[in-house]
């Protein structure tokens, strides 16, 4: 293998890892505040991509300036849309079963996942087939000693890094982040200390789902094709990333996303027929992590939300 190839792989890892990270953060937040594995999160991710597609079809972009505005519009709309959908899911489906056994919540989230996926398949025009995702970019490429980075990749890498930094501020420096951490620590104690638990959980769902939506748009821009069932695979990967980092640990989830992407790229590059067994490896990592390192790769969660 040439060293340029490796540099190229690292760029790919950064791109895919960014998406995994954003999805993983959502899983980790939901688990932190509600002790819930939200299977519907993958579908929210998918909705983000479809929301952006709607924006792209409604608006028109031809000039370069239009392209930038388009991307901004896609991200803003998908973020808000998914945030609202996530908050609505919490209110309608999860709040009534918040105190029920975890199996009940698990099945509820599966039900929501079926509803969202099938609704898109059924009611989105031509929703059952892969849909082309328009790229506002002229697909300009930057070549750096043989390493090719497309403008899409630069955007995606930059955006995911910026969002993770923004998340750090949100969790550490704002009342909402503090309340989220308090609820994750002990919901009842937080309530007694005056935290408006319902509102904070709602906000947590808004934030987590919005991040999932962002990842959905990124996925569309990167692969230029979206499908109603794209959420499921992403859910497993984002979830595995969250487990690698330690469920409930936001920074762990960020690290886990990039690590998982690295692992995938490595196995495809090194193992013959690796791409066929790539997902097997993901599941194996998931199982091994859950069994041997359930608190994640960090010995002690440095700053935990759960």
């Amino acid at each position: 293998m040439l060293s340029e190839n490796w540099a190229q792989q690292i760029v790919n890892v950064a791109t895919i890892g960014g998406m995994y990270t954003l999805v993983a953060v959502g899983f980790t937040i939901f688990f932190g505040v509600l002790g819930l594995i939200n299977f519907a999160h993958g579908e929210v991710f998918m909705l983000g991509a479809f929301a952006a597609l709607v924006v792209a079809r409604t608006l028109d972009f031809t000039s370069t300036a239009g392209g930038v505005a388009m991307i901004a519009a896609m991200f803003v709309f998908a973020t808000l849309f998914c945030g609202v959908v996530g908050a609505a899911i919490e209110r309608v489906a999860f709040k009534p079963v918040r105190r029920a056994p975890m199996l009940v919540m698990l099945i509820t989230s599966l039900g929501v996942s079926f509803i969202l996926r099938e609704a898109v398949r059924e009611f989105f025009p031509d929703g059952a087939n892969p849909l082309a995702f328009p790229s506002p970019f002229q697909s300009a490429e930057i070549r750096l000693r043989g390493v090719v980075i497309s403008d899409t990749q630069i955007l995606l890498i930059a955006a995911s890094v910026l969002i993770v930094i923004g998340l750090y501020y949100l969790v550490e420096r704002t009342w909402i982040g503090r309340s989220m951490r308090a609820i994750a620590e002990d919901r009842d104690a937080a309530r007694m200390m005056g935290v408006d638990v319902d509102r904070v959980i709602l906000a947590a769902f808004f934030i987590g789902s919005a991040l999932g939506g962002v990842a959905g748009v990124m996925n569309g821009l990167y692969y230029l094709s979206i499908r109603f069932d794209m959420g499921w695979v992403m859910a497993i990967k984002g979830f595995t990333a969250a487990v690698i980092g330690g469920l409930g640990n936001i920074y762990g989830a960020a690290a886990g996303g990039y690590l998982l992407a690295l692992l995938e790229v490595l196995i495809v590059a090194l193992v013959p027929e690796g791409s066929e067994y790539k997902d097997v490896l993901v599941f194996l990592v998931l199982i091994l992590m859950l069994v041997f390192r359930p608190s994640g790769i960090f010995r002690q969660a440095p700053q935990k939300v759960g």
Binding site: F31, G32, G35, I37, V92, A93, P96, V97, R99, A100, P101, M102, L103, V104, M105, L106, I107, T108, L110, G111, V112, S113, F114, I115, R117, E118, A119, R121, E122, I236, F239, V243, G246, L247, G248, N249, E276, Y277, D279, V280, F283, L284, L286, I287, L290, V291, F292, P294, S295, G296, A301, K304, G306
Partner: protein, 430 residues
Amino acid sequence: MPEKDFVACQAAIEPQKGPRRLVDAAIAGTAVAALCVAFAVGLAIRQLPYFVVYLAAAIAIALLLRRGPMAGIAERVGAAFGSSRPTAVGVLVLALAAYPILFQGNPYLIQVGALSAIYVIMASGLNITLGYAGLLDIGFAVYFGAGAYTSAQLAVNFGVSFWIGIVLGGLCASIFGFIVAWPALRVHDHYLGLVTLGYGLMMNLLARNLRFLTNGTDGVINIPPPSIGAHDFTRPLILGPLTLPFQANFYYLALAIALITCFVSYRLRESSLGRAWEAIREDEIAARCSGVNARGMKILAFSTGAFFGGVGGSIFAHMIGYIGPDSFTFLESITVLVMVVLGGAGNIVGAALGAVLLVIIPERFREFQELRLLLFGVALVLLMIGRPQGILPRRRARRLLPQEKLAALSLGEAGPGRNARASSDGTLGA
């Protein structure tokens, strides 16, 4: 033993006389017969709008029996069931045996009946793992697949008879249960669910890729049907003057095995094994302190549940004649899981009822092929919000000692709510 205790203690509370026993038996028998007739009517309705009306009426009556003015009747019938279970079971078995005769003009419905019975076998299997031992398994389709592939490959490649294949299929499936039980011993609740989920997905992917074992995505085709002596299962079943469509062969086969499964599962629950599983489910530390070998019991729960999953898969493969990776996806695991939870985890009749409902109702909505999963999702959410403990939750007061039973009666039934509260704080790890 506990059953006798219960009967004895019930006799102590309300002394029973001979006539009362007969009345109870009559009530229980009539109630079962009425339910079966109502069920058959539901199956016989061909037009969908009428079926929707029927379904709504059934739900309304069920609700009325729970809270409405008819609650007294329900209680009386419930008491009758308690004291004359053999009669109720007898009537039910008769009705089930009569089913293909009643619907002999409609082979499709008999096929659906056979499919229901197969799912009853699998739901009973998962009911042991999840309902008895409280071990969440979201990869149950693995055992289905293992059993199906084992007996199918043996039959296709080595000409092994179905009757040997089904046993080997079950055993092979329980090895798969054993494999996942070993790592699963270290994790609980969510984590256990996710380990088994990952296991299920991984095994499905392996079935797609390991071509030498499974023929990859093509699957195994032309699986020979079972036969008894010279009677091939693809030929019509001749019972005296009756000639039933060939699907009835599979129906009776699956029904017989389903009944055996339910019986074994009932005996297991009442055995020391069942009590050990229940102890682990309720409080693992306390169970260990009382000398229960939690490790071994958990492994046994996984393997036993998996065995029945494999048996179900084996029958399925020989009935359909095909098994491929698409036959045991994540959706399959979820379906079996929902069957158990919908019916009531830990309750044999509940799990069986859940399985039957979840096979038949979607079949009735075939015209809405496209919307089926959407409706399934809506139903899941509504059910979990409205009745999270399932249609027939397990009864818990039954196993109290006589004096405690008396105390429990004065305090009201200890319902499943206790369990719900016990695990509601399910926050874990991290």
